[in-house]
C-alpha cells in the first residue's frame, strides 16, 4: 500500500520525541497527545467513578447514612459533569488523535500545536472543577444540567464551574476544528471520502456537532454567569426572562452532545465487528447516511428533555415526532451490525465481546429512548430512575463499553504488546454482568415512581436500590482490573506484530506496532 516515493527533504520531521516530561508538556505529536487524552480520561473516569461509589453507598439503604443532602447533590452533579466532560469526551478525542491520522494516512493532525493546547486546557479545567469541592459552600449541586433559578443559589463554586466549562468548551471547539480540517485536508491520495473508515466518518460528523453546539453551551452558561454576577435577568420572570429558556438553549446543546458521545462509539464498534466477523461492514453507505441523519435530527429534538415543562401542545407533538424519527437511523445501524455478523467467521476476542455487548445493550437503551419519546409515557417517567437507566444504557454500555472495546482493539497497535486476553475477558464479563445488575433494576425503580437526584427514598424502593448498589460496587471494582490490564500491557507483553487481528484492514495496521514516532511522513497511496 505504501507506494509513495521518498521525499528528499525529511529535515523537518527529524525531531524525535524530546525526553522526559517535556515530551508530554510540549508535544506536537498526535500519538503522544492521544496518549495524554486517554490517560487523562482514565483518571477522570476513576475520579467520577469514585463519586458514583459514594452515591451508591448513600443509596444502599433508605435514610440518610453518609451524606447530608447538600453533599449528595454535589456528588450526583459532579459525577455527571466529570463523566461527560472529563471522561467520555476526552477519551473519544484521544481515539481521534491516535487513529484518524493513522487511518487516513496523514503524517499528523492538521494543527499539531493547537492539538496540544486542546489537551492541556483539560487539566486546567479539571483543576478548577475539582477545586470547587474545597471552596466555601462546596461544589456544584444543581445537577449537571445547571438549571436556573436553582443555579442562582449556589456559591462561588458555581462561577468557577462555569469558567471551567468555558475552558472545556474552548478545548472541544479547537479539537473539533482540528479534526475536521485533518479529515478534509490530510487524507492520503486515493482516500476518497467514501473510502474513509467509518470511524473517521463518525468523528467528522461528531466534530461538526461539536463546533456547532459547544458555542451554544458557552452562550447559555455565559447568561448564567451574568445573571449571577452582573445584573442581567435572562432567567428571571419578574424581569421578563424565563427559566425555561435556559433549558431550551441548554438542550439545543445537550441533545447533540449525547450524540457527540455516541457517534464515535458507533465508529469504534463498526471497526471492531467487521474485523472479528472477518467480513466487510454491511451497508457502509447507509451507515454513513444514518450517522449524518442522526446528526441532523439531533438539532431538532432537544425539547424531548422538557416534556413536563408545560410546552404548548404543538411543541410537544413536534418534538415527539422528531424524536421518534431518530429511532430509524439508529435502528438501521443496529440492523447493519447484525447483518455484518451474519455468516461471518466470528471469533470472540475481548474487543469483540465489548462490541457485541454494545450492540445488545445499546439497543436496550435505544428502546427505553423510544419509550421516553412518547410524551404521555415520558410525563410519567421524566426525572425518574427510568431516565437514569436509559442514559446509562446508552452511555455506559454504549459509549464507555465501546471505548473499552476500542482500547483493547488498538492497545496492541499503541503499545506494541498484546494485552492479557484472559484477564481482558474476565474484565469484560465482570463489567457486563455488574453493569446490568446496577442499571437494569433502575428501570423498575423509575416505573414504580422513584425520582432521580434524591438522597433518600421511600421504602418500596429499598430492595432494588440495594441490588443496584451491590452491582455498582462490583462494577466499580471491576474497572480496577481494567487499569491493571492496561498498565500491564503498556509495560510489556507478547509482541503484537503489525497486524495482530487477521480481519483488520485499515491503514494503521500497515504500520509497525507501535507505529514510528512519525508515521506516514510521505502519504501512502490508497487504491
Amino acid at each position: 500500500m505504501n507506494t509513495a516515493t521518498d521525499v528528499a527533504d525529511h529535515h523537518e520531521h527529524e525531531h524525535g520525541a524530546p525526553s522526559g516530561i517535556m515530551r508530554w508538556l510540549t508535544s506536537t505529536n498526535h500519538k503522544d497527545i492521544g496518549t495524554l487524552y486517554l490517560w487523562f480520561s482514565l483518571f477522570m473516569f476513576f475520579f467520577a467513578g469514585a463519586l458514583a461509589m459514594l452515591i451508591r453507598a448513600e443509596l444502599f439503604q433508605p435514610g440518610l447514612q453518609l451524606f447530608q443532602p447538600g453533599v449528595f447533590n454535589q456528588l450526583t452533579t459532579m459525577h455527571g459533569l466529570i463523566m461527560i466532560f472529563g471522561a467520555i469526551m476526552p477519551s473519544l478525542v484521544g481515539f481521534a488523535n491516535w487513529q484518524i491520522p493513522l487511518m487516513i494516512g496523514a503524517s499528523d493532525m492538521a494543527f499539531p500545536r493547537l492539538n496540544n493546547w486542546s489537551f492541556w486546557l483539560l487539566p486546567a479545567a479539571g483543576v478548577l472543577l475539582i477545586a470547587t469541592f474545597f471552596v466555601p459552600g462546596g461544589a456544584l449541586a444543581g445537577g449537571w444540567t445547571m438549571y436556573p433559578p436553582l443555579f442562582m443559589q449556589g456559591g462561588i463554586a458555581y462561577d468557577m464551574s462555569i469558567l471551567a466549562v468555558h475552558i472545556l468548551g474552548i478545548s472541544s471547539i479547537m479539537g473539533a476544528i482540528n479534526i475536521i480540517t485533518t479529515i478534509l485536508n490530510m487524507r492520503a491520495p486515493g482516500m476518497t471520502m467514501m473510502k474513509m473508515p467509518l470511524f473517521v466518518w463518525t468523528w467528522l460528523i461528531t466534530a461538526f456537532l461539536l463546533v456547532a453546539v459547544m458555542p451554544v453551551l458557552a452562550c447559555a452558561i455565559t447568561m448564567l454567569l451574568t445573571d449571577r454576577n452582573f445584573g442581567t435577568h435572562f432567567f428571571d420572570a419578574a424581569a421578563g426572562g424565563d427559566a425555561v429558556m435556559f433549558q431550551h438553549i441548554f438542550w439545543f446543546f445537550g441533545h447533540p452532545e449525547v450524540y457527540i458521545m455516541i457517534l464515535p462509539a458507533f465508529g469504534i464498534v463498526s471497526t471492531i465487528i467487521p474485523a472479528f466477523a472477518r467480513k466487510p461492514l454491511f451497508g457502509y453507505v447507509s451507515m454513513v447516511y444514518a450517522v449524518a441523519s442522526i446528526a441532523f435530527l439531533s438539532f431538532i429534538v432537544w425539547a424531548h428533555h422538557m416534556f413536563t415543562t408545560g410546552m404548548p401542545v404543538g411543541g410537544q407533538l413536534f418534538f415527539m415526532y422528531t424524536t421518534m424519527l431518530i429511532a430509524i437511523p439508529t435502528g438501521v445501524k443496529v440492523f447493519n451490525w447484525v447483518a455484518t455478523l451474519w455468516r461471518g467467521s466470528i471469533t470472540f476476542e475481548t474487543p469483540m465481546l465489548f462490541a457485541i455487548a454494545f450492540v445488545f445493550l445499546f439497543a436496550i437503551g435505544g428502546f427505553s429512548g423510544m419509550v421516553l419519546a412518547l410524551v404521555p409515557v415520558d410525563i410519567q417517567l421524566q426525572d425518574t430512575y427510568y431516565v437514569v437507566a436509559h442514559f446509562h444504557y446508552v452511555l455506559f454500555s454504549g459509549s464507555a463499553m465501546a471505548i473499552m472495546g476500542g482500547v483493547y482493539y488498538w492497545l496492541p497497535k499503541w503499545t506494541g504488546h498484546m494485552y492479557d486476553e484472559r484477564l481482558g475477558k474476565v474484565h469484560f464479563w465482570l463489567t457486563a454482568v455488574a453493569f446490568n445488575i446496577t442499571f437494569f433494576p433502575m428501570h423498575f425503580l423509575g416505573l414504580a415512581g422513584m425520582p432521580r437526584r434524591i438522597p433518600d427514598y421511600a421504602l418500596q424502593f429499598a430492595e432494588f436500590n440495594m441490588i443496584s448498589s451491590l452491582g455498582g460496587f462490583l462494577l466499580g471494582a471491576s474497572q480496577l482490573l481494567f487499569l491493571y490490564i492496561v498498565i500491564k500491557c503498556a509495560r510489556g507483553g507478547l509482541p503484537a506484530g503489525n497486524r495482530p487481528w487477521d480481519g483488520a484492514d485499515t491503514l494503521e495496521w500497515t504500520q509497525t506496532s507501535p507505529p514510528p514516532y512519525h508515521s506516514f511522513v510521505t502519504p501512502p497511496l490508497v487504491k
Binding site: 471552596v135 466555601p136 436553582l150 439497543a363 423510544m370 404521555p376 437526584r453 438522597p455
Partner: protein
C-alpha cells in the same frame, strides 16, 4: 388500544422471594423494610393514567418484539457462524432491498405508535370544562394549595420525622411520602391545577394520576385530573430543587363530594378563628412550642434542627448576630428573605402567628437567650 390483560403491578411471589432471600442472606435489609415494591407504573387512578399505562404496555411489547426479531438472528450468527466451527466468512456487504425494507418497516411501526400517543397528548392538554381550580405553588420545600374562589389556602409540609430519616426511629409505612396537610379534592370531578413556584422549579407529581407538571417561577402552567376512587395518593417533587428535594412529598386525598363540602366548611371555620385571634398576645412558652413546629417544617432543612447551619452553605442561627440582635432586623430577613440565596421570603408563606412563633423560638433556643417575645402584632406592624 387497550390490551386484554390488565398487568399486575406487583412482583411475582417467586421473584420477590428470591430477592428478599438474597438480601436477607446478606443480612443487610433493615427489619422495617416491608413496603411493597413495584415493577411497573402505579396502578392508575385516573382515565389518563390508565391510558398512559396501556400506551406504555403497548410500546413495551412492541419493543420486546423488535428485540426478539433483531437479536435472535444475532445470537444465531454468534453461535453458528463462528470461526471455531469452521464457518467461512461470506463476502456480501450490501443489499439494497433488505436495507429499504428495514427502513420502511420501522417507519410504519412508528406511525402505529404515534397515533395513540398523539390522541393521548391532546386529551392530557385539554384542561377546559373544569369543576374546580386549585392553584399549586412550589416552595423550597413544600407545596402551597389555594382553592381559587374559595379563600382556602394552606401549606403542605413533609411530616416524616427527622429521627426516622436519621435512623434513630424505625421508618414508618409512608416514609417520605407523608405530609401534614394533604390536598383534598372531590372524587369524580375534573380538577384543574394551575401551577407555579416562588423560588426554583419544582414538579408536582402523582404517579397514579398520570400527572407530572413542572412548577416554573413566574409562569402559570396548567394540568388536570379526575380521580374516581376515594383514597390517598402519594407522589413526590420531581425536579431537583435544592437540599430538600427528596423531602417534598405530594399527597392528595380524594374524598366523596359530600365529605369535600364539609371539609371546606371546616377550613373556613379555622380561618375565621385565626382571624379572630389576630390581636391576641401570647406567652413565651406557647410561642416557643408552636415555633419549634414551624421551624422544623420550614427552616431546619437548611439551618438544621440544632441551629448550627451547614458551614459555607447555610449560616448558623445559633449565636447569629441577626437572631440575637435587633428584633426588627430579625423580623425583616424572615419576612423578605435574602435575594440570590435559598433564604425565602417567608412573609408570603406563613401567617403572622407562625412567623411570631418561629422568630420567638429562634431568639430563645440553642445559644440564643434574648428572652423577648415577638407577638403576631409585631409582625403585622413590620409588614409593609
Amino acid at each position: 388500544m387497550r390490551l386484554p390483560n390488565r398487568p399486575d403491578q406487583r412482583v411475582g411471589p417467586s421473584l420477590r422471594a428470591i430477592l428478599a432471600v438474597s438480601a436477607l442472606l446478606a443480612g443487610l435489609l433493615p427489619a422495617q423494610v416491608h413496603a411493597e415494591f413495584g415493577l411497573n407504573l402505579h396502578a392508575p387512578a385516573t382515565g389518563l393514567a390508565q391510558n398512559i399505562y396501556d400506551l406504555h404496555t403497548l410500546i413495551l411489547w412492541i419493543c420486546c418484539a423488535i428485540f426478539v426479531v433483531v437479536f435472535v438472528p444475532m445470537f444465531f450468527a454468534l453461535i453458528r457462524h463462528r470461526k471455531s466451527k469452521g464457518h467461512p466468512a461470506a463476502k456480501f456487504h450490501d443489499n439494497l432491498a433488505v436495507e429499504v425494507v428495514w427502513t420502511i418497516i420501522p417507519v410504519l411501526i412508528l406511525l402505529g405508535m404515534a397515533w395513540p400517543a398523539t390522541s393521548l397528548v391532546l386529551s392530557m392538554k385539554d384542561t377546559g370544562k373544569e369543576d374546580l381550580t386549585i392553584k399549586v405553588t412550589g416552595h423550597q420545600w413544600k407545596w402551597e394549595y389555594e382553592y381559587l374562589g374559595d379563600d382556602i389556602r394552606f401549606m403542605s409540609n413533609s411530616s416524616t420525622p427527622k429521627e426516622q430519616i436519621d435512623g434513630a426511629q424505625p421508618k414508618g409505612e409512608n416514609y417520605l411520602l407523608e405530609v401534614d396537610r394533604p390536598l383534598v379534592v372531590p372524587a369524580g370531578k375534573k380538577i384543574r391545577l394551575v401551577m407555579t413556584a416562588s423560588d426554583v422549579i419544582h414538579a408536582w407529581w402523582i404517579p397514579a394520576f398520570g400527572v407530572k407538571q413542572d412548577a416554573v417561577p413566574g409562569f402559570i402552567r396548567d394540568t388536570w385530573f379526575r380521580a374516581d376512587t376515594p383514597g390517598t395518593y402519594r407522589g413526590q417533587c420531581a425536579e431537583l430543587c435544592g437540599v430538600g428535594h427528596g423531602f417534598m412529598p405530594v399527597v392528595v386525598e380524594v374524598v366523596p363530594e359530600a365529605r369535600f363540602t364539609a371539609w371546606k366548611e371546616e377550613q373556613k371555620a379555622l380561618l375565621a378563628a385565626a382571624t379572630a385571634n389576630a390581636g391576641k398576645t401570647y406567652e413565651l412558652a406557647e410561642l416557643k412550642a408552636l415555633g419549634e413546629k414551624v421551624y422544623t417544617a420550614n427552616c431546619a432543612a437548611c439551618h438544621q434542627a440544632n441551629g448550627a447551619g451547614i458551614p459555607g452553605a447555610f449560616p448558623a442561627l445559633s449565636g447569629s448576630a441577626i437572631v440575637s440582635g435587633d428584633r426588627a432586623g430579625h423580623i425583616d430577613i424572615v419576612l423578605a428573605g435574602k435575594p440570590g440565596t435559598t433564604m425565602a421570603a417567608f412573609g408570603k408563606q406563613l401567617s403572622d402567628l407562625d412567623l411570631a412563633a418561629v422568630i420567638t423560638y429562634e431568639r430563645n433556643s440553642w445559644d440564643n437567650k434574648v428572652g423577648d417575645v415577638v407577638q403576631p402584632s409585631d409582625i403585622a406592624a413590620r409588614r409593609k
